[in-house]
C-alpha cells in the first residue's frame, strides 16, 4: 500500500487539500493527514513515501490528481509538479526549524507520532529540574514573548512563581493567547494545526514551573479548523495520560480547557483576554497589577503567546545555550516570520533573528505575487509601520527594528505592490481602531473616529495644512493617553505612511512633508 502525506491546515484546505486527499484515498493510497510545513505557495504539497524518503509534488490542485496517479508517482521526476525530496527543497533547507521542526512531518492528532518525534522529552527534562531551575533555564535561553511585545519570558514566569498566594491552596493559571488577530499573521494557527502537542507540552512545563495546575487556550473564532483540531488533540491528551493527573508518570498535574473568542481583535490584548475568559466584555484592564500577580479571576496568571509556549520544550531538550546561540544582540533564538499579502512565495519562514527583510521578501518570497515592483511592506500587524523598499536591508532584531520606527511584533510581513493606495491604508488603520477599540479609554475610542475623519478631509484636499497639524496633535494624545497598545500604536502605521508615502495624500501633504525635511 502506497503511503501519501497530505496537509490539513487552513491554508491547504482553503485551496482543495480535502478534495485532493479524498481522490488519493479513493485510488487506494493510504493517506496520512499531516499539518503543513508552511510553504503556502506550494500547497497543496503532496508527499509520497519512497525508500529514499518523502518525495514532494506541488502545488497540486484537485484536477492534477488523476494525472499524478497515472504516472509513477514514486519516481516521477519528469512530472511538472515534481519537487524532489521534500527536505531538500531550498525554501525549507534555508530555514532553521526549531519551533516548527515537526510541522508538516507528523500527524498532529497523534500522541504516538508526537512521541516518536521527540515529543514530551522537554517536559521530562524539566520535571527533573524543578520549578526554580526551569525558570532559570528559560531566562538563560533569552526567549522573549513572541506575541509582539517581546517581553522576556523568564522574567514573567519568575514573577508568577514568586507571587505568593494568599492561601496555600490558591489556584494559579496558565493562559495561552491564541487570539492571533493581526492581519498578515498565521504562525500560531500553523503551529496549532501542525504540532499542537508542542504547545500543550510548553503549557505543562509553564504550569509546573509556576505552580499552576489549570490552563486555558483562548482561541479566536475565525479559526474553525484549528478549533476542531485542538478539541480532538486535548481529548487525545487526556486519553493517553498526557493531560490530567500525574502526567506521563512524572508527578505533574495539569488540566487544559479550550475557549473560543467571539470576533474581537482587542481580546488579543492580555488583560482584555482575561476579562473575556471570565465571560465578560473584553475590556482592557489598567496595569498594575500585572496578570502574573493578579490575572484570571484575580489569581496569578501567565499569559503567553502560542509560539512562546511552543518554543519552550526545545530549550529543555537541547539546552538554553543551544537556543540562545541563535540570533543577534538581545534577540535570541528563531522567529517564524510570515510572508503574506502580495508575495510570490508566501508562507512561514523560521529563521534566527538577524536576517533582513530583503532576504525574506526577495530571497524566500521571490518578490511580489503580481510581478509588479514592491511599494511598501507592513511589518508587525495593523499596529506596525509601513516601510518603503529602501528600508529592506535593516537587520531584523527587536531593538534594531525599533530604532528605525518599526516593530517586529508577531513577525507578520505584508507586501504591497505599486498599485496600492497608501492614503487608503492610513484611513484603514484608524477605521480598524474604531471598529475594534474596546471603548474604555477616550483617546482610542474617540481618537480613532476623529483620525479617520481627518484623513478623509486630507485626502479630499480640505485644509490639508491645518488638518495635518490636527493629526499630529491627535497622534500625541493617542500615544500618551491610551490605556493599551491598540490606541497607543494606531498612530504608528499612519505616521509611517505620511512619512514615506506623502505623495499618496495629495500635493499639499507632499510639499509640507518635503518642506519639513528640507
Amino acid at each position: 500500500m502506497r503511503k501519501i502525506y497530505i496537509p490539513r491546515d487552513t491554508a491547504s484546505v482553503s485551496i482543495g487539500a480535502d478534495v485532493v486527499a479524498r481522490k488519493f484515498a479513493d485510488a487506494g493510497f493510504t493517506v496520512v493527514r499531516t499539518g503543513s510545513r508552511g510553504a503556502a505557495w506550494l500547497e497543496v504539497l503532496v508527499e509520497i513515501e519512497t525508500p529514499k524518503g518523502r518525495i514532494g509534488y506541488g502545488p497540486v490542485q484537485p484536477r492534477d490528481v488523476e494525472n499524478l496517479i497515472q504516472c509513477d508517482i514514486s519516481n516521477g521526476e519528469a512530472h511538472p509538479l515534481y519537487l524532489g525530496p521534500v527536505e531538500e527543497i531550498e525554501y525549507f533547507q534555508k530555514q532553521t526549524r526549531i519551533t516548527f521542526a515537526r510541522a508538516g512531518v507528523i500527524d498532529p492528532l497523534s500522541v504516538e507520532d508526537f512521541l516518536a518525534h521527540g515529543g514530551f522529552q522537554g517536559l521530562k527534562k524539566a520535571a527533573e529540574l524543578g520549578p526554580k531551575e526551569i525558570v532559570k533555564t528559560v531566562l538563560d535561553s533569552g526567549l522573549r514573548g513572541r506575541g509582539g511585545a517581546g517581553f522576556p519570558t523568564g522574567i514573567k514566569w519568575q514573577t508568577a512563581l514568586d507571587a505568593s498566594p494568599k492561601q496555600k491552596c490558591e489556584q494559579k493559571y496558565v493562559v495561552c493567547n491564541a487570539d492571533e488577530g493581526d492581519g498578515g499573521t498565521f504562525s500560531d494557527r500553523l503551529l496549532m494545526e501542525s504540532d499542537p502537542f508542542a504547545l500543550i507540552e510548553g503549557m505543562i512545563i509553564c504550569g509546573y514551573a509556576i505552580g499552576a495546575t489549570k490552563g486555558y487556550i483562548y482561541l479566536r473564532s475565525e479559526y474553525p479548523l484549528t478549533k476542531d483540531i485542538l478539541t480532538t488533540v486535548i481529548a487525545n491528551g487526556y486519553r493517553s495520560g498526557w493531560l490530567g493527573k500525574d502526567i506521563g508518570g512524572l508527578g505533574v498535574d495539569f488540566d487544559l480547557e479550550l475557549r473560543i473568542g467571539a470576533g474581537a481583535y482587542i481580546c488579543g490584548e492580555e488583560t482584555s483576554l482575561l476579562d473575556s475568559l471570565e465571560g465578560k466584555r473584553g475590556m482592557v484592564r489598567a496595569k498594575p497589577p500585572l496578570p502574573a500577580i493578579a490575572g484570571l479571576f484575580g489569581k496569578p496568571t501567565i499569559i503567553n503567546n502560542v509560539i512562546t509556549l511552543a518554543s519552550v520544550p526545545d530549550i529543555f531538550v537541547n539546552g538554553a545555550q543551544s537556543y540562545a546561540a541563535h540570533g543577534v544582540a538581545r534577540s535570541r533564538g528563531t522567529l517564524p516570520f510570515q510572508l503574506a499579502g502580495n508575495v510570490k512565495r508566501g508562507g512561514l519562514v523560521e529563521v534566527p533573528f538577524g536576517t533582513t527583510l530583503r532576504e525574506l521578501i526577495e530571497g524566500f518570497g521571490g518578490g511580489t505575487y503580481s510581478g509588479r515592483p514592491i511599494k511598501a511592506v507592513q511589518v508587525g500587524g495593523p499596529l506596525g509601520s509601513y516601510l518603503p523598499p529602501e528600508s529592506l536591508d535593516v537587520v531584523l532584531d527587536y531593538e534594531a527594528f525599533d530604532a528605525i520606527g518599526g516593530a517586529i511584533g508577531h513577525g507578520g510581513i505584508v507586501v504591497f505592490d505599486d498599485s496600492a493606495d497608501m492614503g487608503q491604508q492610513a484611513r484603514f488603520a484608524f477605521e480598524f481602531c474604531e471598529l475594534e477599540s474596546c471603548g474604555k479609554c477616550t483617546p482610542c475610542r474617540i481618537g480613532s473616529v476623529r483620525g479617520k475623519e481627518t484623513i478623509d478631509k486630507i485626502l479630499a484636499g480640505e485644509n490639508p495644512h491645518e488638518n495635518l497639524a490636527l493629526l499630529e496633535d491627535l497622534f500625541e494624545t493617542m500615544e500618551l493617553g491610551s490605556l493599551c497598545a491598540m490606541g497607543g500604536l494606531t498612530p504608528k502605521p499612519v505616521r509611517s505612511l505620511l512619512k514615506h508615502f506623502p505623495q499618496d495624500f495629495g500635493e499639499a501633504v507632499m510639499c509640507a512633508k518635503q518642506g519639513a525635511e528640507g
Binding site: 487552513t10 491554508a11 484546505v13 482553503s14 485551496i15 482543495g16 478534495v19 503556502a40 500547497e43 484537485p62 484536477r63 492571533e180 488577530g181 493581526d182 492581519g183 498578515g184 499573521t185 498565521f186 473564532s221 475565525e222 479559526y223 474553525p224 479548523l225 475557549r259 473560543i260 473568542g261 467571539a262 470576533g263 474581537a264 473575556s276 475568559l277 471570565e278 465571560g279 465578560k280 466584555r281 473584553g282 479571576f297 510570515q338 510572508l339 503574506a340 499579502g341 502580495n342 508575495v343 508566501g346 508562507g347 505575487y369 503580481s370 495593523p382 507578520g412 505584508v414 507586501v415 504591497f416 496600492a420 487608503q424 491604508q425 484603514f428 480598524f432 471598529l435 475594534e436 474596546c438
Partner: protein, 159 residues
Amino acid sequence: MATNLDINPALQFVKDTCSVHGNAPEKLLEILHDIQNAKGYIPNIAYVAIANALNLSRAEVYGVVSFYHDFRQTPPAQKTIKLCMAEACQSVGARELRAELEAEFGVEIDIKIPDSEIEIGTVFCLGNCALGPAVLVGGQVYGRVDAQRVKDILKGDNA
C-alpha cells in the same frame, strides 16, 4: 391541551444550554456560541433566561452580546459570506473583490437587507494571509478567491 405552564421550546433550549455549562457566569461566551450555533442568532427571549440562570443582570448579558462582533441579534440570511478585509487580503485585491460582490449580489457589506437571500460580512483575518483574498463560507475558509469562485462556492461546487 396546551396550558400556560408549557414552556416555549426556544426558552427551554436556552435554559438547558446554561445548565449544560453549570450556569457559570464565566461560561457566558460559550453559552452564547451554543445558542447561536443552534438558532443562528441570540433571540430576545434569551436575555432574561440567561441572566436568571447565571445570576447576572440583563444589561450585563446584553453588554456581552453587543460587544463581540460574532454575536448576532437578528437571524442571518440564508447564505452568509465573511470576506477578509485585513491588510494581507487588501494587498491582493480584497477591496475590489468587495465591490464586485456587492454589485453581483446587490447587497452592501455588513448591512443585512431584509428578505435578501445573501449577506456579506467583514472579517479581519482568517489566517490565510499568503493565499488571499480569503472568504469564510459555512465554517470553511477558501483561499485565492475571485467573484466567480465565490459564486461557485455558494452553488456548492467546491473543487
